[in-house]
């Protein structure tokens, strides 16, 4: 418990440093573009592949479980849509991104810490936390919602392909996709994703920034960052769902 409180205290001290204004906006803009590419663009292919296949599997499983002839086949489209929008895209993709982006952030900053690159920034008179972490947080918070919306679209294409192989006609599937659609679900997913993006980048950066030791410590920080981010994502998924949907 004391250790948890220590982590919390250090996290908020770090975040206070992170949120101070950058030393030079032109350099900050360059860093932000670089981070957008690293944490956002480089995750696009992974999100496309995952979303397509999971979408396909969700629709096949839904069709497989609809054993009663009373259930209309358009329900496959409807169930796939709601599963993807409400849970798979925002939460599962965020968990996967916590593994990819979170470990990358923690190991990058951790390596900079153990090789004294962060000390070098500090000695130059640069606020290292703001310089290194703020662009990462802004990049993830801005970019992840786009990734998630893209994941929803690709997932539905996958679900349609999966539905075809489970004998659900395109017309039925499209009808199910449009049936009782609530745009608020998208808002809910985007709000969740924004929170998750902040958790992934700030928590991973925290563990990287406080790395002590050598290469093994960097690996440990990276693992701790992924585990902690994942647990926090699941916790906040529950809290946000309870607040927004109930």
């Amino acid at each position: 418990m004391i250790k948890l409180l220590q982590h919390l205290g250090l996290y908020f001290i770090m975040m206070k440093k992170v949120t101070s204004a950058p030393e030079k906006w032109s350099v900050f803009r360059k860093q932000l573009i670089l981070e957008m590419e690293k944490v956002g663009l480089k995750s696009v292919s992974l999100v496309i592949i995952l979303s397509f296949f999971v979408g396909a599997v969700v629709s096949i499983q839904t069709a497989f479980n609809m054993t009663s002839p009373l259930l209309p086949s358009y329900l496959v489209g409807l169930a796939s849509r709601d599963s993807l929008i409400l849970e798979f895209s925002p939460t599962m993709i965020s968990l996967i991104l916590a593994g990819k982006v979170g470990s990358s952030i923690a190991s990058e900053i951790g390596s900079m810490r153990v090789t004294e690159q962060i000390d070098a920034l500090e000695i130059m008179g640069i606020n290292s936390a703001s310089f290194l972490i703020l662009p990462k947080i802004i990049a993830t918070v801005l970019f992840f919602p786009f990734l998630i919306i893209m994941s929803m679209g690709i997932g539905m294409i996958g679900a349609w392909v999966g539905g075809l192989s489970a004998d659900v006609t395109t017309a039925d599937f499209m009808y199910g996709l449009k049936y009782d659609f609530r745009p608020f679900y998208i808002t809910y997913a985007v709000v969740k994703t924004t929170f998750f993006a902040f958790i992934i980048s700030s928590v991973s950066a925290y563990f990287g920034y406080h790395t002590k030791g050598g290469a093994i410590a960097v690996g440990k920080s990276s693992t701790t960052a992924v585990v902690s981010s994942s647990i926090l994502i699941l916790l906040f998924n529950y809290i946000l769902t309870d607040i927004i949907l109930s």
Partner: protein, 248 residues
């Protein structure tokens, strides 16, 4: 010049620096020597503000570093060039970007002016034309020279070097030592070198402080070092057979 007065530092139960006072003179290569674990690195980290002192004062040309505000400390730090043990080059930047980085952060120079300054510094450390190399493509000696170029690009008043020769062969180590000394004289700056390499001490030791168990046991220059009758200093300096032979 940099002056430390009655500096004390502990890490929990471990009393690392005990009432340390010393004057690092301008225009000279000032050396902090001592065994591993004697407190050298802690002292240099105190000088650059990475560790806070428990008591005492650190004066940069009369300005008490610990008495000024964080913002002023940041401004003062821009006058300090630091050469880290491993170089600490930003591994996602090229050599040119590494050296240009402080200029981009703290000056309003044009790209052309910055490039001219980078090329001047690269020429000064004999690495002309190596602008586009990545740190991973550099040898140990080249890494140190790029780090020196980055440290001097802002024309600092103080140059601090932590174990500049660690991991280098004797020939390259001498090149780095001489480069540090030449730069010190050329720009008339206060240079502090933290080392336990006796070759370095004999090469560039103009003003030396010997630290043992967190205390300064001896001060002087390289000539005085050879003739000292301080037992702890002699045990450290003449630990190798080569230096024992030199003494006899």
């Amino acid at each position: 010049m940099i002056e430390i007065q009655n500096v004390e530092k502990s890490f929990e139960e471990n009393h690392v620096l005990k009432n340390v006072s010393f004057l690092f003179e301008k225009g000279k290569t000032n050396l902090i020597i001592g065994e591993s674990g004697s407190g050298k690195t802690t002292l240099i980290k105190i000088l650059i503000g990475l560790h806070k002192i428990d008591s005492g004062t650190v004066l940069f040309d009369g300005v008490d570093f610990n008495a000024i505000k964080t913002k002023q400390q940041r401004i003062l730090r821009q006058e300090i060039g630091m050469l880290f043990q491993g170089g600490a080059l930003y591994d996602y930047m090229t050599v040119e970007e590494n050296i240009m980085f402080p200029l981009s952060m703290f000056t309003d120079k044009t790209e052309q002016e910055k490039l001219e300054r980078v090329n001047f510094c690269l020429k000064r450390v004999n690495l002309e034309g190596k602008n586009d190399l990545m740190p991973s493509e550099l040898s140990g000696g080249m890494t140190k020279r790029v780090a020196i170029a980055r440290a001097i690009v802002m024309q600092p008043k103080y140059l601090l070097c932590d174990e500049p020769n660690s991991g280098l062969d004797p020939k390259t180590a001498i090149i780095i030592d001489n480069l540090i000394q030449e730069i010190t004289k050329e720009y008339n700056i206060t240079t502090i070198v933290n080392t336990h390499d006796m070759n370095s001490v004999m090469e560039i030791g103009e003003n030396i402080a010997f630290i043992n168990n967190g205390e300064i046991w001896w001060t002087g220059n390289k000539d005085g070092l050879l003739n000292s009758d301080n037992k702890e200093l002699n045990d450290f300096v003449f630990a190798s057979k080569l230096f024992k032979r030199l003494k006899s």
